[in-house]
């Protein structure tokens, strides 16, 4: 499994990845001095309440948000094509001729893509931190930096989502489905919170149907909240990320185990 992870991660050596990395570093430089996300949404009545600064917590920087977007896009383009291309190229047969199960192969791919995302995110974040130091002569506090790196937990479910789609569809279709899924998940983010704020019974029967739809998508808003770094909320957030990832990986695993790999080749 770790060999699959290692070989997936080694794709970072390809020239296209270097170009992307250069782009990520430049983006980090460009957004390094932007206000935290909570200040960016100050004009929105509800978002300013939700993402507003909490005492004893560190905010998510807008530069981190940009780094996340870049890394997630990259994960989408890399992860969605990874398995379909190995199937069509025949490499999958080579892998499965070794003493490695399909589930281990899938997990290896998952961790490989996760590491690629983490590498891009870390590179962009480092660029942001160093640019901030170069401009102001001061480093961000350790707590603030730790909070930014905690945002990497967002990759845990999304990489699983990408893999699930890549097991169900071809490479291009997987990219499209993943992007559409991400967009839809953004649409549903605020709904349960808004409904919870309405007086009891106001949403009526709508509440049940909307919650059924809502549970099909991860809520990105939770990752952006300001909360104490070492507390029950951050623990729950990790549990939330891991549980979503596990659900999607189980679906992907089921699909992958029942897939006719020779036909697709």
């Amino acid at each position: 499994m770790w060999t699959v992870t290692q070989l997936t991660f080694r794709k970072l050596k390809e020239p296209a990845f270097f170009l992307m990395l250069a782009f990520a570093l430049m983006a980090g430089y460009a957004v390094s001095e932007m206000d935290p996300v909570s200040d960016q949404v100050a004009g929105n009545a509800i978002l300013s309440h939700l993402l507003g600064r909490q005492p004893g917590s560190e905010p998510v920087l807008t530069s981190t948000f940009a780094a996340l977007l870049i890394s997630m896009l990259l994960a989408c383009f890399t992860g969605a094509v990874e398995i379909p291309r190995e199937i069509s190229g025949g490499q999958i047969q080579h892998w499965l001729s070794k003493p490695i199960s399909r589930s281990s192969y899938l997990l290896g791919k998952y961790f490989g893509i996760l590491l690629i995302c983490a590498a891009f995110f870390c590179a962009t974040e480092l660029s942001v931190i160093l640019c901030h130091y170069a401009r102001t002569g001061a480093f961000f506090s350790a707590k603030l930096i730790a909070r930014q790196f905690l945002m990497m937990s967002m990759f845990v479910p999304y990489t699983a989502v990408i893999l699930m789609f890549s097991c169900c569809a071809g490479d291009i279709a997987a990219i499209i489905f993943t992007l559409l899924y991400l967009l839809f998940s953004l649409l549903f983010n605020l709904i349960p919170i808004l409904i919870a704020m309405l007086p009891e019974g106001f949403a009526g029967e709508v509440e049940e149907s909307i919650f059924v739809l809502y549970y099909l998508f991860p809520n990105n808003l939770y990752f952006l909240l300001d909360f104490p770094l070492f507390g029950i909320v951050s623990g729950m957030l990790l549990l939330y990320s891991v549980s979503i990832a596990a659900i999607f990986l189980l679906i992907a695993d089921y699909q992958f185990r029942h897939m006719d790999l020779s036909k697709r080749g």
Partner: protein, 254 residues
């Protein structure tokens, strides 16, 4: 042999992960909602964040609950009639098909209340069998008991409905004149807005060969032109109410 227990374990694992997902999500949702002070966020702002179909359904529910609550809190027969009328017309506008019981309740229990006039307007001029027993004669009798403001609204609403039913260019002058004829019995109509109504009565009375009725109506229309408007009347009423309240407060020392 080994596939079944594995499948069972996988299902158990899936169920456990689902449970963890629901628990962590519920916790995070509560932690998020707890940040918001509902008093600081207006209902409109909450609704604005929802997609159109959901917003419409929730707005419908909010209005319905408000109307039901005003019916529940209505003490006097007049306010009960007003709340029932509002509820009925809301249901009718939203096409829920639940409006008739409310209209019928008004006609059964509150038909003499001034606030019940929208029900008369609703069924007036409807064909036999669909008018719930509301006839023009019944309306003429009812309007006699109405106070100035409601009487004016009842007459204008009824006239507008009748004109809407008649042909725009060749209306049935006889029918309109017959319906508006009791206007001439109102002693000293108090509002400026009565003037066009009497002018219309005069026109249709003349068209239908009722010279005397037309002359009387024209005379009243001229007189009404010098009266105050309904808006002025309502403003005056509001000022009087405030004055009375202030006097009452002074007496009780508040």
């Amino acid at each position: 042999m080994s596939e079944r227990p594995e499948k069972r374990w996988l299902l158990l694992l899936f169920a456990a992960i689902l449970a963890l997902y629901f628990v962590s999500e519920a916790f995070l949702r509560q932690a998020t909602v707890a940040r918001i002070n509902p008093a600081a966020v207006a209902m409109d702002e909450i609704l604005a964040g929802l997609p159109d179909p959901i917003r419409n359904r929730i707005s419908f529910r909010i209005t319905l609950l408000q109307l039901q609550s005003s019916l529940k809190n209505a003490g006097s027969p007049g306010s009960k009639a007003a709340a029932l009328c509002a509820l009925a017309s809301f249901h009718e506008a939203e096409k829920t098909g639940e409006h008739m019981p409310y209209y019928r309740e008004v006609l059964a229990a509150y038909k003499d209340q001034p606030e019940a006039y929208p029900v008369y307007i609703r069924f007036l001029f409807e064909p036999e069998g669909r008018n719930e027993g509301v006839t023009e004669a019944m309306f003429h009798e009812y309007q006699k008991k109405l106070p100035a403001e409601e009487k004016f609204y009842a007459w204008t609403s009824a006239y507008n409905k009748l004109r809407g039913l008649e042909d725009e260019f060749t209306p049935n002058a006889d029918r309109i004149a017959r319906f508006l004829a009791p206007l001439n019995d109102i002693p000293d109509p108090p509002f400026l807005e009565y003037s066009p109504l009497f002018a219309e009565l005069a026109r249709f009375a003349r068209l239908s060969g009722r010279g005397e009725m037309a002359e009387a109506a024209m005379k009243t229309a001229d007189q009404c032109a010098y009266k105050r408007s309904v808006t002025e009347f309502l403003m005056q009423q509001e000022e009087d109410r405030k004055y009375r309240e202030e006097m009452e407060n002074r007496k009780t020392g508040i």
